[in-house]
Amino acid sequence: MNTPTLSKTKKTARGIFGTLIIPVAVGLILWIVCAANGVSMFSNAQSLTIFVRGVATVMLTTIALAINLNSGRFDFSLGSVATLSAVISAQITLNAGGNALTMLILSIVFGILLGAVSGGIYVLLRLPPIITSLGVALLYEGLAFTITKGSNVSFYGKTDVSGITTNVLYMLIIIAAVLLITIVLFDRSRFGYRYKALMAGQKVSVNTGIKEVSNAVVCYAFSGALMSIVGYLTATSVGIISVDILNFGSIGVMFSAFLPMFIGGFIGRYSNDKLGYLLAAITMTFFSMTYSALSVKSSTQSIINAVLLVVFLIYLSNEKTVKDIAALKHIRNLFKKKTDGETNND
């Protein structure tokens, strides 16, 4: 009689466990590692700000990457959109004497525009997105360099524009707002249903009348908006926008989001993939904080992150085999126990 309730409770518990296990386990392990070395991830007053900023940056980049990649569209232009939108908005804000909010809003507006242009080029040329995004990355890097004539944009002495980046509450609002908007747009709207239909079956969806072109352009525009916030957060926290990114110097941003995207996708199986991206961002920021606390060299960090990515992918790509192996082991243990019991009885 209680079976459905029990089953539901079990399902909920499984969902909560699956959703939280990675960030909690990683956080605990890294906390122990730090404690064993006599350091702490949160050693001073700035640590929380750095942590929340890290979470915001990673989460936004991951969602921006995942929106198009889940539909089979590689987007190499993410980093260049972040830089160019930050350069344009910074130039306007600094020249007009605006504040942090002005720069953030301008960044988002230009991010949407740049993303839409990127999507527009893709749908107009009808070339594979991997090619158009390379062209767009080159174009935007060149534009950022040309606008500033090769000089970096500096925020030295301009504390007005970095007000958001130094305030934990504002960044938490950004994280919550982005998460909410993304969930509503992609999981609870007509646009989102069509996006998912196109993702699952492009040909069938197009034949049933779903407008693929406008859906793709909106995806690029939304992705651009997210990257513009990343550009703003990075620029104002570092205090400088480096335009020395010619020749694909901006595409590294895309690669940094792969691991959190796969982790987020895995967590998403138990709850929601967007929530998964947030938890993956928290997980990755735990790593960054630990590297910083332990003064790990950047080359070692790269190797650890790459190994983590490969190991996680090996698990994801061979999940069934891993489970089968685990199951066989389980059966073998049961068999062994039974045999041991029979021997004892004899």
């Binding site: 749908v123 991997i130 390379l134 060149g142 010619l246 694909f248």
Partner: protein, 326 residues
């Protein structure tokens, strides 16, 4: 009758479009000569610069064609070239042997390529993501090799005798000849094209995806090794920025040269050479035109981007689909 004429017309149009990369290269060459005459440049030095800049890219890209033919994509080629150059440079400094240096360069890049391909093949990982991880690892390894002895560079001296365009051209011609032979006249090339064109059908006919993926990475590894060797010879000082422009430019060069991104039977070895020379000639033209303009590098890159997209658009006009490509 009309249908035959229409077909002939379409076939001619297809042929013309498939020749777009070669036509583009010829136009760029003519433009280079015309602008060079107007600007009164030293043509000997100019052509030497083009060859110097193109050959390394062309060699690495030619090897990489084997990977791209399978419809795969390797992002770690630039990082692998740097590791290969670093390893070769260190061995040369320790032994003074050019032969050992060349062998080390090829061995290092082959090892890197094999790790990527074996990881991808055995554990069924997506090749692109595997190479993203490899790129991080190789960049870290090169940093360790460069800073291993406390400095931030590897200095190589005594190789100036090898630093001339004829040596580079010999490397390019020999390696291209081997690649053309393997690609066009052996079952390896044919099967790779089949796998790139229709993997399901190729698998059903008994072609092993794993074997041919590993073979593709081996060919690419040899190209990277030779590129790494020439990089070490050319740059007497290797830093973490050496060969940094090779990685993505390989992709640009291959696509620019008319290689379809999906790989398959339309793949051509010569795409790498045409593309490499085209983008270097274009860069030289832009350098001549924008020499006195502030922020010239940025403008040059914008023009390069537009030119790249326009060329690829023209070259792929035969293959438009109703749905958006992915």
């Amino acid at each position: 009758m009309d249908k035959v004429k229409t077909n002939e017309k379409f076939s001619k149009r297809q042929k013309l479009i498939s020749l777009t990369p070669i036509i583009g290269l010829v136009i760029l060459l003519i433009l280079y000569v015309v602008i060079g005459i107007i600007k009164d440049i030293n043509f000997k030095a100019g052509f030497e610069a083009i060859v110097n800049q193109s050959v390394i890219l062309a060699i690495v890209a030619t090897g990489a064609i084997f990977i791209f033919t399978l419809g795969s994509f390797d992002i770690s080629l630039g990082a692998s070239t740097l590791v290969s150059a670093c390893a070769g440079g260190l061995v040369y400094n320790a032994t003074g042997s050019v032969a050992l240096m060349l062998l080390t360069c090829v061995a290092a890049s082959l090892a890197a390529s094999l790790v990527s391909s074996v990881l991808g093949s055995i554990f069924n990982l997506p090749v692109f993501v595997t190479t993203v991880a490899m790129m991080s690892v190789l960049s870290a390894v090169s940093e360790m090799l460069i800073t291993g002895k406390g400095g931030n560079q590897i200095r190589i001296s005594g190789l100036s005798g090898l630093e001339n365009i004829w040596v580079k051209l010999i490397f390019l011609v020999i390696f291209t000849a081997i690649c053309v032979f393997v690609f066009e006249f052996t079952k390896v090339g044919r099967r790779q094209k089949a796998l790139g064109g229709n993997p399901v059908c190729a698998k059903l006919t008994g072609i092993s995806v794993k074997t041919y993926a590993i073979l593709a990475f081996i060919m690419a590894g040899v190209g990277i090794g030779l590129g790494g060797f020439l990089t070490a010879v050319r740059a007497s000082t290797i830093t973490s920025g050496t060969a940094s422009d090779i990685g993505m430019n390989i992709f640009i060069a291959i696509v620019f040269g008319g290689m379809p991104i999906s790989g398959g039977p339309r793949s051509r070895i010569y795409a790498a050479i045409i593309g490499s020379f085209s983008i270097r000639i274009l860069s030289q033209i832009l350098t001549m035109l924008l020499a006195a303009v502030p922020g010239a590098n940025g403008i040059a890159q914008i023009v390069r981007a537009i030119f790249f997209l326009a060329m690829v658009y023209l070259a792929s006009m035969n293959y438009r689909t109703k749905m958006l490509p992915r």
